[in-house]
């Protein structure tokens, strides 16, 4: 056990799995960096956000494959490699770029098993960067996980801390279906206790971050930390909050949410995706369907407004759900009558 960042945990998961299984390889743009630069023979980047640092030095260019800027070919090749028995980890540098290559994910990788039967197993991981908060602008800050989760055949995870990042990535690599692994760019430097050995955080298992009795807050990705920051302010108001991190959106741990809502009678979801057809609205819909009689107040979803992520820092700060909004919404639900 030692203190590691979210970034280090992701790298460590890949290293351990690549050591364990030679079929695992990594492919993407500038994942080593420095190829084709004269006599330079090192790692220039290890990924633009440093998420593949050290892999090329240990595993070499056979299994750490830098590519031209060609997302359709990268994702399609990874899908084809997975269908053919390899276990690719393909990096889609920013999730916003899914627009360039979605056919290969949506119509190909995600459907192979259904269309072809068991022979269509597709053990593919797509690691991709989500999230607002660093001024990256409208085409580098989105969180399209609700769109990913909408697709049958595609699994989706959204780690909120270093421990889960490592365990979920190991599970994703060992899983025999395509998994969208959504890394949040604002969390890369976050530190936490992380075991040194390999371990799995199972896909489809949520976690109770904090127990409480009055309201259930389900928070996704970066929103988990923001929800945690509300705890003391809510306690000052006499509100005992239970916070759940689903960790994986597809498959989704419905039971952990139902059990909690049966106890608290109130549900607030905090979700960074666009509000229309957001993952949060799906959670509230399932809860209304399954445990309606436990509810003491309407369910509520907090998301950004229905607009792209702005470049201006003051607008971006307003865009994201924050402590004030969560406290206000919780207060409203707890005092609803």
């Amino acid at each position: 056990m030692s203190i590691k960042t979210y970034r280090e945990s992701i790298i460590e998961a890949m290293v351990l799995e690549m050591r364990r299984d030679e079929k695992v390889f990594v492919i993407g743009e500038d994942i080593s960096g420095g190829r084709g630069c004269g006599d330079f023979d090192g790692e220039a980047a290890g990924g633009p956000m440093g998420l593949t640092q050290g892999l090329w030095a240990e595993f070499g260019a056979k299994r750490v494959i830098d590519t031209p800027i060609s997302e359709t070919a990268i994702m399609g090749a990874a899908a084809g490699a997975a269908l053919s028995g390899l276990r690719p980890i393909a990096e889609l540098m920013f999730s916003d770029f899914f627009g360039v290559c979605f056919d290969q994910i949506y119509n190909q990788a995600a459907k192979f098993r259904f269309m072809y039967g068991e022979q269509g197993a597709t053990p593919l991981v797509i690691r991709t960067m989500i999230g607002a908060g660093i001024g990256a602008g409208p085409q580098h800050s989105q969180s399209p996980y609700s769109i990913f989760a909408n697709i049958p055949g595609l699994k989706v995870v959204t780690p909120s801390n270093p421990y889960d990042a490592k365990g979920l990535l190991i599970s994703a690599i060992r899983d025999n279906d395509p998994v969208m692994f959504c890394e949040h760019k604002a969390l890369l430097g976050m530190e936490g206790e992380v075991p040194d050995e390999a371990y799995e955080v199972p896909l489809g298992k949520g976690r109770i971050i904090k127990e409480g009795n009055d309201i259930t807050i389900v928070a996704i990705g970066q929103m988990v930390g923001i929800a945690q920051n509300c705890t003391s302010r809510l306690e000052e108001k006499g509100i005992s909050v239970e916070i759940i991190d689903p960790r994986s959106l597809s498959p989704f741990d419905e039971e952990i949410v139902y059990d909690s809502v049966e106890k608290t009678g109130r549900l607030l979801v905090v979700d960074e995706s666009n509000p229309v057809c957001s993952f949060g609205s799906w959670i509230t819909s399932m809860v209304s369907d399954e445990v309606f009689s436990s509810l003491k107040a309407p369910t509520k979803v907090l998301t950004p407004p229905h607009c792209p992520v702005p470049a201006a820092p003051n607008l971006e700060a307003t865009y994201l759900p924050n402590v004030d909004r969560i406290v206000e919404a919780s207060d409203y639900l707890v005092n609803y009558s």
């Binding site: 500038d30 084709g36 085409q139």
Partner: protein, 324 residues
């Protein structure tokens, strides 16, 4: 072909403005005043300028993440452009786009673009005006060597070719896509040759030399206006600085960085050519230099002192006002 003195001074002004502007942005970035990553155009000034001096305001360009130079060469309003980079309310896009999304439709600048390669089809779309309404216009896509590998770029070249559209595919080969060299990323290594495969005239030329670029642009623009379809111009030039500001560039040697400044400075090359040919006197260019320094620093000061957008603007311009 001889260019008029006015056109030469205009070209020099645009190139130098890009240089001074980008050097200033570099300083500002180092001071931490710029709200996001920026990708500098220094070293490639002759490309945007050589192309844009052949265009009118009705002609359009579509740009890239490295778009400041394109904006200036297309004669965007410098103050409003600077404000956009600083994400200010009065910026060209109200501060919601920032450095990688500056657009100025008033001068035919259809936008910088943070999705590599995405601007190529957009340029083709603008060129459709010639076919649909008979409008006389030329449309340019600026495309990096790295971007040349995107499917969208290949599809655009083919579409423009089969429809004979007035498009210039201007490939800015600065040798790098982020931290990857062209020797690694470009199959066949010959961007112009690949474009030629789509059946369009293609050039490969020295992109540090304004005159080389401008001459090819003039020919390609003329063909496009006559309805003879697209051309490709591969301009080989140097990226003086990192991929973005803050890139430590371990993958480049000190010698490379030193020699490019000496041997591939588009401004020095231009000065030498015009002075040797006796077309313009050095002191005329010096005067332009002085004027630009104060223009640029005043634009930057103004931008930094202007307000950020009102938070009410967060949800405006998602749809047409009143329609949603």
């Amino acid at each position: 072909m001889q260019l008029s003195r006015d056109k030469l001074l205009d070209a020099y002004t645009r190139m130098k403005k890009i240089r001074v502007f980008e050097e200033t942005m570099r300083d500002e970035f180092a001071k931490g005043t710029v709200p996001a990553f920026i990708h500098l155009y220094i070293g490639q000034e002759a490309i945007a300028t050589g192309i844009c001096v052949e265009l009118t305001d009705q002609d359009t360009i579509s740009s890239t993440h490295r778009g400041h130079g394109h904006c200036i060469a297309k004669k965007s309003n410098l103050e409003k452009m600077t404000m956009e980079i600083f994400c200010r309310a009065d910026g060209l896009c109200g501060g919601k786009g920032g450095s990688m999304h500056i657009a100025d439709l008033s001068v035919g600048m259809l936008g910088a673009n943070a999705i590599v390669g995405a601007n190529a089809p957009i340029a083709v779309g603008a060129a459709l005006k010639q076919r649909v309404t008979g409008e006389n216009l030329v449309s340019v896509a600026f495309i990096g060597d790295g971007a040349s590998n995107q499917g969208a770029v290949f599809e655009s070249m083919n579409l423009a070719s089969v429809l004979k559209l007035p498009v210039l595919f201007v490939f800015e080969n600065n040798g790098y896509a982020e931290f990857t060299g062209i020797d690694y990323h470009c199959g066949g290594g010959d961007i112009a040759g690949r474009a030629g495969g789509f059946g369009m005239p293609s050039y490969k030329l020295d992109g540090s030399d304004f005159f080389a670029v401008q001459e090819a642009a003039a020919e390609a623009v003329e063909r496009a206006r006559k309805g003879e379809g697209p051309s490709a111009i591969e301009c080989v030039a140097k990226r003086w600085y990192g991929h973005f500001e803050g890139d430590p560039q371990h993958y480049r040697t000190k010698e490379e960085l030193a020699t490019i400044r000496r041997d591939f400075d588009p401004l020095i090359i231009f000065r030498q050519k015009v002075e040797e040919a006796g077309l313009v006197e050095g002191k005329d260019l010096d005067m332009i230099d002085e004027d630009l320094s104060s223009q640029v620093s005043s634009a930057v000061e103004k931008a930094k002192n202007s307000p950020l957008p009102d938070v009410k603007e967060l949800t405006t311009n998602v749809y047409e006002e009143g329609s949603y």
